[in-house]
Amino acid sequence: MILKELKCPGCGAPIKSKTRDMMMQCSHCGKIHLYTKSAKGLNDVSYQIVGASKEGKDELIYVPFWVVHAEPVVRKEKISGGRIGRFIKDQRQMRGMRDFYVCAASEIPEEFSRVWNMDLTLDQPELFEISDFRGGKRALMTMEKETAGDNAEFLFLRYETEIPGTLQDLDYDFTIKTTRVIYIPAYKSGKKFTIGV
């Protein structure tokens, strides 16, 4: 194995870091770049930082999400039961073009990230962008862009199984249009995480 030093594609300065983050910040010019395994280097990346719409007293962290803009098209579906349950609960359908939110930080326990992914994808919230991290800590991005699409598709399948009725057959296409990075605020209190939007 050979060690190849990473340099900032913007200013050429060597990258220094204490943590393995796929979103590496240059300590010289301050720009954040995305590390891609396949290219074994840093690339320019555009990302959004979302402001907190809920106030919290606990530690503020910004959690990276891959936002997969995709369109699930269901050609045929067979569900056993659950029609009344769906009607009563006015169950939302995860169909048509939408943003699928996939938490990309492994430090967020799955019990929280699973709920956040589902709620954000169903709610499609209007997020207001801010210009910097405003004193909050940036959580490490650990998920590669290449796996974000499959994670979004699994999220779609998970929703189909969790709503009332028992899925028996599904013939569908899952077409991915774009994938981008968004940092969403969350509050950390001990082992508990609360999303800030």
Binding site: M1, I2, L3, K4, E5, L6, P14, I15, K16, S17, K18, T19, R20, M22, M24, Y35, K37, K40, G41, K78, S80, G81, E110, R114, T147, D150, N151, E153, F154, L157, R158, E160, T161, E162, T166, L167, Q168, D169, L170
Partner: protein
């Protein structure tokens, strides 16, 4: 432990001489002293790691002698076998750690009290970590296809000048593809375990680490009554991984004679019950059934009992010991959903 234990290799920072920790699956490495960040550039596009041989030659021979003394092998094999050669070798394996996810749907079938078939719809989501290991070379007659790396194994950076090994014949891309396919198949298989009939399934593989591993073994070749046999010993756990040994001739004879006699007697009694009339004929069926199984089993032991095989060896012989599968499931850290 929610995740698979990762291999850890230490390298030296080319700038400050500090320690650079390289973890399995991570393509980024950081110097713990000067904070320089490196991408790991492996020659074959995947990190290569070798494990330290922890078992001595004497221990390997002792293990094989102990193996010879147990099971269905020739009597006095341990005493009479002559060791022809013992040597260490490193075999290359491709190792993929990945999270396997699957959505499996279907239904359970059972009969109600009126004898009607009842279908209960079921859904299962599997979300588990899996480890895939596949030998990267042609192992010849060694009968080794996979490994299970113990927690106490000590990984070091690979240096092909130091070790005797086989040339890799399985490409990285082919193995990566096979590994992903095997993990998806295993995740779907895990989902199918609790459903009688499947109507829909879809699986995904999310790779976390892909490494070429060089794992140590001792090859012990020996002769017994002028015929050559062998055994391979795990170079870290000291366990027998594969081997070929002469069978027990007395045991073969016992099965041919004793098994045949007992089965024949049972069959004779069964036929006697039938000839006694309809009232006793019912006793004959289980007797004849057991006799048939006994004859089949005795014949297998007689026919193939001249050789004992362990591991993934091909050929005729009685199989002993468990084979190591290519995919292992990490039971902890699962997020499965059943309904």
């Amino acid at each position: 432990m929610s995740e698979t234990t990762k291999l850890l290799v230490t390298m030296t920072c080319p700038y400050c001489g500090g320690q650079v920790l390289c973890e399995e699956g991570e393509s980024l490495a950081i110097c713990t002293y000067c904070d320089s960040v490196f991408s790991l550039d492996a020659e074959e596009g995947a990190a290569q790691v070798m494990y330290k041989l922890a078992v001595t030659k004497d221990k390997a021979e002792k293990t094989v002698r102990g193996w010879m003394a147990n099971g269905r092998k020739a009597e006095n094999l341990s005493k009479d076998a002559e060791i022809a050669e013992i040597y260490p070798i490193y075999l290359p394996f491709w190792r993929l750690i990945a999270r396997g996810k699957a959505c499996v749907c279907g239904y359970d079938e059972d009969k109600d009290k009126d004898g009607h078939t009842r279908k209960t719809p079921r859904e299962v989501l599997i979300n588990r970590e899996y480890v895939y290991n596949d030998i990267a070379c042609n192992p010849g007659d060694l009968g080794i296809n996979s490994i299970r790396i113990p927690n106490n194994a000590q990984a070091v950076s690979f240096d092909d000048g130091e070790i005797a090994t086989f040339t890799s014949t399985l490409s990285k891309d082919d193995s990566y593809r096979s590994g992903c396919e095997a993990i998806i198949a295993e995740a779907i298989h895990d989902g199918k375990q609790s459903i009688d009939k499947i109507t829909f399934s879809k699986g995904f593989c999310f790779p976390k680490g892909f490494t070429k591993v060089y794992y140590p073994f001792w090859i012990v070749r020996y002769t017994y009554q002028d015929r050559s046999y062998f055994a391979t010993v795990d170079g870290i756990t000291e366990e027998i991984v594969s081997g070929r040994a002469p069978g027990n001739v007395k045991r073969q004879g016992l099965y041919a004679g004793g098994g045949g006699t007992i089965a024949g007697s049972m069959a004779g009694i069964g036929i006697g019950f039938v000839s006694m009339g309809e009232e006793t004929a019912g006793f004959a069926i289980p007797l004849l059934f057991v006799a048939a199984i006994l004859i089949w089993y005795s014949y297998q032991q007689f026919r193939y009992g001249d050789e004992v095989l362990q591991g993934s060896l091909k050929g005729s012989g009685i199989q002993e010991g468990a084979k190591i599968g290519k995919v292992d499931t990490v039971v902890t850290g699962t997020h499965d959903y059943f309904s």
